[in-house]
């Protein structure tokens, strides 16, 4: 059967990893808006060694938005916050084996949601990360395009 997306994207869309919410998360990020057609929530749990021990997502959006969030969570768990901050939309796309050109923004959404979750964690715990320098936490992706 032919699909709109490659096998890896379809796998993450049909069998998304880490769906849900974390009880007492250390950081929460929400990016996007229903008006624009996609909105992601990413939550993280971070241990005393700054390692992300859990990451969950909820996404309103198309197949590639769901797959991008699912993939992003798998790329965060078990990594330090600094390592997670190195994730970009490009690395998410690479890991997914590519997205159609009009769907690139879905991976951008995932990158922003991750960074917002980490920013929330950093704010609450008084931490500073080089990877957050220059990050616009005011941008919630909810401006009408």
């Amino acid at each position: 059967m032919q699909n709109l997306y490659n096998e890896k994207v379809m796998d993450h869309f049909l069998h998304p990893r880490n769906v849900g919410e974390i009880e007492n998360p250390d950081g929460t990020g929400v990016y996007g808006s229903p008006v624009c057609g996609d909105m992601m929530q990413v939550q993280i749990k971070v241990d005393e060694n700054d390692v992300i021990t859990d990451c969950k997502f909820k996404t309103f959006g198309c197949g590639s938005a769901i797959a991008s969030s699912s993939m992003a969570t798998t790329m965060m768990i078990g990594h330090t916050v600094d390592e997670a901050l190195e994730l970009t939309n490009k690395t998410i796309i690479d890991e997914l084996g590519g997205l159609p050109s009009q769907k690139i923004h879905c991976s951008v959404l995932a990158e922003h949601a991750i960074k917002l979750a980490i920013y929330d964690y950093a704010e609450k715990h008084g931490k500073h990360y080089k990877g957050l320098e220059g990050f616009d936490h005011e941008d919630k992706g909810d401006d009408l395009h």
Binding site: G37, F60, H105, H145
Partner: protein, 392 residues
């Protein structure tokens, strides 16, 4: 992966060619291959077949055969009328009136005409997609040269009051065109009674072949040719005729005319059953389009599923062998949501969760049951994943 069943619920996108239509077409590729312009036997026979097809299409819409011109499809007919009238009457005026919910074959042609200096008024529609004759009356100006309003909307199935709208235009001496691609075969019509000047038609929406369509051009109305060349179609549309396609379109029209009562009853019953089950069994849904189903395309259902997005619904249904379409921005290259749903005022936070289902002649009750059973699962599954909050 293969689904246990294939359920096609997108008859407004296109229809399969009916077997009797295909059987009629086949000889025209091989034995009856003549060029209708040729003056020997094969050509003369081809010309007879062409004339027969013209009678079949004319009969379906209540036209005289010489008022039907074959074209390469609905989009060509739309482009031809708009550009033709604009070109012919540009000294008289440069204002055209249409609606906000037209097909892109109309809207994009209007944008092109705007780039050439024409002014276009896009009429609003009400919450069910109806264009009001009063609004049309108010929009008419001394320099208005054409009114073009679709007969049946392709997304939400609204059947526009074409007779009333045409009467308003004619009261002011203005030509009236309707894009009837979704109406032909689905709505009983008599073009003379409607009093319209032009009507665009498509073959592949009525179980005929793709790449074939027609234009009804009222007797006495003339517009310049769109395709220049030979003297085919009475000198009005050049190019060697797609004879097999035209014969197929003719046969499809004949079958549609013969079946129209059954077709309307069959489709509207299944559509109503589909909507009844969806609204009874799936929470938080909104039905878009006319509530009075006598003013709605018989096979059309358009439903918004709150808190989830249409393309993801579409793909999951496709995994189960079910074909539908969506007005979500994510499914369009422009990333803009459906202009039709926007025009009828669907809330911008729910607009992306809209799905169009269209049933047709080959749809069965079992198909509808299979589709709704899977739809329930798909909607529940995506709502589990969704970040949009909903009341518990």
């Amino acid at each position: 992966m293969s689904a246990e069943r294939t359920v096609y619920l997108d008859y407004s996108a296109t229809t399969p060619v009916k077997q009797e239509v295909l059987d009629t077409m086949i000889p025209y590729f091989t034995e009856n291959f003549g060029n209708p312009s040729s003056l020997y036997q094969q050509g003369l026979e081809a010309k007879l077949s062409l004339d027969h097809a013209r009678e079949q299409v004319a009969s379906l819409i209540g036209a005289d055969p010489e008022e039907v011109i074959f074209t390469g499809g609905g989009s060509e007919s739309d482009n031809w009328v708009l550009e033709g009238v604009a070109h012919k009457l540009k000294k008289q005026g440069r204002h055209i009136i249409t609606s906000k919910i037209e097909h892109h074959a109309i809207l994009h042609t209007c944008q092109y005409l705007q780039s050439l200096g024409f002014e276009i008024t896009y009429l609003d529609v009400d919450q069910e997609g109806f264009v009001s004759p009063e609004d049309l009356e108010k929009a008419i100006r001394p320099d208005t040269i054409l009114v073009s309003i679709m007969f049946v909307n392709n997304e939400i199935g609204t059947v526009e009051p074409i007779k009333e709208l045409a009467a308003v235009a004619h009261k002011h001496g203005i030509l009236f065109h309707t894009d009837a691609v979704q109406a032909v075969g689905n709505v009983k019509m008599d073009v003379h009674d409607l009093g319209i000047d032009f009507m665009s038609m498509s073959s592949h929406k009525i179980y005929g072949p793709k790449g074939e369509g027609g234009l009804y051009l009222r007797k006495g109305v003339r517009i310049p040719s769109f395709i220049h060349g030979g003297a085919q179609e009475g000198g009005r549309r050049a190019g060697t005729e797609n004879l097999a396609g035209i014969v197929g379109f003719g046969k499809a029209a004949e079958v549609a005319e013969k079946n129209i009562d059954w077709h309307i009853k069959h489709c509207s019953e299944l559509r109503d059953y589909l909507l009844d089950r969806i609204t009874a069994e799936i929470p938080d849904v909104i039905v878009n389009g006319p509530h009075d189903h006598s003013l709605r395309h018989p096979g059309n259902a358009n439903v918004t599923f709150r808190y989830i997005e249409g393309e993801s619904i579409l793909i999951l249904l496709d995994q189960a062998g079910i074909s539908v379409s969506t007005g979500s921005a994510c499914s369009s290259k422009s990333l803009e949501p459906s202009h039709v749903l926007t025009a009828i005022g669907v809330d911008s936070t729910t607009i992306h969760g809209s799905i169009r289902f269209t049933v047709g002649d080959f749809t069965t009750k079992e198909d509808v049951d299979y589709a709704v059973d899977h739809l329930k699962e798909v909607v529940a599954r995506l709502r589990e994943i969704s970040s949009m909050s909903r009341p518990e």
